[in-house]
Subunit: 310 residues, 4 copies
Amino acid sequence: MPLTRDQQAEIDRQRAETAATKRAVSPGLEEVLYQAFPVLDHGFVRVIDYMGDDAAVVQAARVSYGRGTKKVSEDKGLIHYLMRHRHSTPFEMCEIKFHVKLPIFVARQWIRHRTANVNEYSARYSILDREFYVPAEENLAAQSVSNRQGRGDVLTGSEAAQVLDLLRTDATHVYDHYLAMLNESEDGQKIDESRQGLARELARMNLGLNFYTQWYWKVDLHNLMHFLSLRADAHAQYEIRVYADIMVDLMKRWVPLTAEAFIEHRLHGVTLSKSAWGTIKRMLNGETVTQEASGLGKREWNELQALLKE
Amino acid sequence: MPLTRDQQAEIDRQRAETAATKRAVSPGLEEVLYQAFPVLDHGFVRVIDYMGDDAAVVQAARVSYGRGTKKVSEDKGLIHYLMRHRHSTPFEMCEIKFHVKLPIFVARQWIRHRTANVNEYSARYSILDREFYVPAEENLAAQSVSNRQGRGDVLTGSEAAQVLDLLRTDATHVYDHYLAMLNESEDGQKIDESRQGLARELARMNLGLNFYTQWYWKVDLHNLMHFLSLRADAHAQYEIRVYADIMVDLMKRWVPLTAEAFIEHRLHGVTLSKSAWGTIKRMLNGETVTQEASGLGKREWNELQALLKE
Amino acid sequence: MPLTRDQQAEIDRQRAETAATKRAVSPGLEEVLYQAFPVLDHGFVRVIDYMGDDAAVVQAARVSYGRGTKKVSEDKGLIHYLMRHRHSTPFEMCEIKFHVKLPIFVARQWIRHRTANVNEYSARYSILDREFYVPAEENLAAQSVSNRQGRGDVLTGSEAAQVLDLLRTDATHVYDHYLAMLNESEDGQKIDESRQGLARELARMNLGLNFYTQWYWKVDLHNLMHFLSLRADAHAQYEIRVYADIMVDLMKRWVPLTAEAFIEHRLHGVTLSKSAWGTIKRMLNGETVTQEASGLGKREWNELQALLKE
Amino acid sequence: MPLTRDQQAEIDRQRAETAATKRAVSPGLEEVLYQAFPVLDHGFVRVIDYMGDDAAVVQAARVSYGRGTKKVSEDKGLIHYLMRHRHSTPFEMCEIKFHVKLPIFVARQWIRHRTANVNEYSARYSILDREFYVPAEENLAAQSVSNRQGRGDVLTGSEAAQVLDLLRTDATHVYDHYLAMLNESEDGQKIDESRQGLARELARMNLGLNFYTQWYWKVDLHNLMHFLSLRADAHAQYEIRVYADIMVDLMKRWVPLTAEAFIEHRLHGVTLSKSAWGTIKRMLNGETVTQEASGLGKREWNELQALLKE
């Protein structure tokens, strides 16, 4: 369970408070505001705040004085048009803020997306909890043989058992020693009065990359979609994709028209090189095109074949 | 008057609508949401949307599960501490969206601040109105003699009259010819059926830099403060400073604690070089320090003297 | 001619100086370094400096200790792979700096690309030259009837003549009055000793959007490609596209492998929505698909038909 | 020693190659280009490439056609002026690229500076070396009692010995188990043919935050100074400050005038709040000001006293 009783109570308290606003409100997102959606074994994603809705995209595209929306069908058409033609600025007019708890190695991938605002829980300042990620057995994948950056089959039997055991044992040891170096017991007491305890900013270095951290992450809708197009993709590492998948669902609640257009044009859209598109056109003309004749390299040819079979 | 009757009606309609939200609400800003504050002769600033409040800054600094605020005095102390020590990320957790109408030459200065989101009214797509900036007589400054980038005394008499006349006459002519090239009358009718009319994206080039444009401008609180520290400063050009001054007032309504800390530590704070600070310390020790002995260049020395006299 | 004799002499002087460096050198770009390539009637683009070459992309992707390159064929394959899979960071490792002279209305489009560094010639500080853009007759396009943001046929006859006359006359007048307000003659002398002259930061507002400005514009290779993919595109306004076209040529000199991959995968690549791709696959299976059956809206359907005919 | 023989040979080979360029060259930086400066026990910083020099800052500020520099004294004056008045864009015209090897917990602080380009060595793709940071005894600081984010005295005796032992032992274990899970021996051989080996992207999570990673980090001079002003500061964590200190030295070689102005106005400059500056002025007028009378909070008062004593 990712939340302590106190944390859940704080969240419940905040969910119970309602105030009046003149701002645009997204009813779908209000329903689940502040609520923690569990991810992996100890992580979560929750929406802390948001600005704007589908109408705000339309409003910005029109630089209007009022709500700017016309009929739903017109708004929908405009949003699809903007998405298809890669207009980015109207989508930047919406903003969302998440609170995310995630393993450090996932956080390190995530933060490479730079056009977002981040406040991370500081292990220089505070002591981290004894919480680390151990994959479920069905996610214990072997190294892929064909793709140096990918996963192969799931490990089984004694190999799987040993891996899980090593991950658990090592994480337990490094955390025990983290506390020992800090000279702090689990409940925050000094262990040995004669010792000073190592500085927090140093002791943390003993922890593993599977330990959980947390942060506030705020991003505009355009950059959120960029993040999701990479991280909700089949090539993304499983441990970050599960976060992205939940965020796609939250996006559907927040801005349903934009989410639909995003899935249609970007997440499930297809990009082809000039030669790949030329190949398709020749095939549509009844020609049988081989890899050699296509002008495509072997890898790109295989990717195209895979797309055609999907 | 910067708004048409229709525009004012749209704004009034939107101001009248209220909905319930679980999000943080800033009561001071809600009072004036959507309202257009006049600037210069045809411009305005109005807040269209916002995310977060002073408590959101505190909440982010603590990466908390609930509101995160404690006593007001503690929150205030934390915000001052963050401001004094140049912590930027907690302030990035608040966001604000403005609708601004402004002369193009002001817009060109403004947009040099890149860490913001912008949607500008498109003169490729639409026709601009006959609205251009003419300075009030008391702002008709002569070129400064001492500072190539500054203003001197106010122009008077026939020189002032001639300048105002030229500005008005030229703007009127270029707008008349803009419509003529478009082959459109003021009320949107074709003037001459035998003509095609020049493309809008070309005709606009005849307009002057004093014509008004408008945009939606969205920025986080940290970058807003950076903008205001430069543009609400005495060295900023008058025509952009009047916008910044109103935005400082809006900031006081939105995040009063942060606004107070911003004014204290940044807007009215003082930065001294190592040598300037060394000079101050020698003076505090009773020494009489000359420019030569201070190690400061002439310009910096004069700036320091001015600061001491303020 | 866009350059004065003095400017050309300064450029020639700089082109004549050579020094030794241990850094990566791009021979193709060195050949034209500093050289001004004319654009429109008074504009130009010239490369002022650059960092890195194709090998730097490869080197960064491998985080290598030396040059990082292997065989040319392997480097080429890697660069195509990175481009196809939208890896952006290795391309960010190269940087280029341009000096560009361009009409203000073009500059206003250009600067919407925010991930670049800019230093613009300041009309607060200096006096602009009497240089303004007047389109060549073959570029004097009418407003498109079908597309509010596009151009239609070329204007001809008296309509063309009148437009050119208005553009020239108005620009001449506003510049004459700009000088009159500044109280400066063309050769920099005071006109009337009894006058003070309007501040430069104010007088500039009388100039039209077709006047030329200039700036230094520095950008990394990834963001340059993003700029070029939008501005060297057929939908871009002619007056910015001519700049982008020259920059594509300069890119070919600088990073030939990356330029080739960029043109293949992005500039001439094709992006299809999920439904458009589904339509293509049905057509490849021998099905005759109508717009109604495709699930595509009318506009997207027409765009797809146009792509198929290209 | 941070480099293998092969890596050193690659660096030496690259340092030996020289080519002719028309670009600006920084002689001081060329001398040490590619050279690895050791940091901590296994880390280093080395400059891989650069663009521009002090003259490029001047050139950009003047948007000039040639080198743009005048007398050294004028250039120096201009650079100091730009620094003092917080002009940022001319400094953005220079760019530098570093190759850095650093512990992961340091990398996590570093990457919070978002306005830079990064390519990190990928542990999804490759196997990390057995290299982890263990502090030298004189840097084994206790937790500060007064400042939750700071260091106190150096640990001694058995406490120090135990900490060092735990750090070394745990890092050794987690690395041994990392290889075991990968089913790879130290020299890259499969250990057990009957096993598949865990995917690299998963196995890495067992490693500690003190393991070394490396990256290419590219930044413009303005953002480099922002980074250095925070990380070469006395409040920065020691383990990142040692990197920043070396980078300040490299900056002195690269852009000596800018480095001098940076140290004078920013690194060793002083910023005071409105009330602190008011206090100073009252003191200069001979008044004895107490904390209560100053209007400053206790913390800020103490900081001001410390500044006065420095």
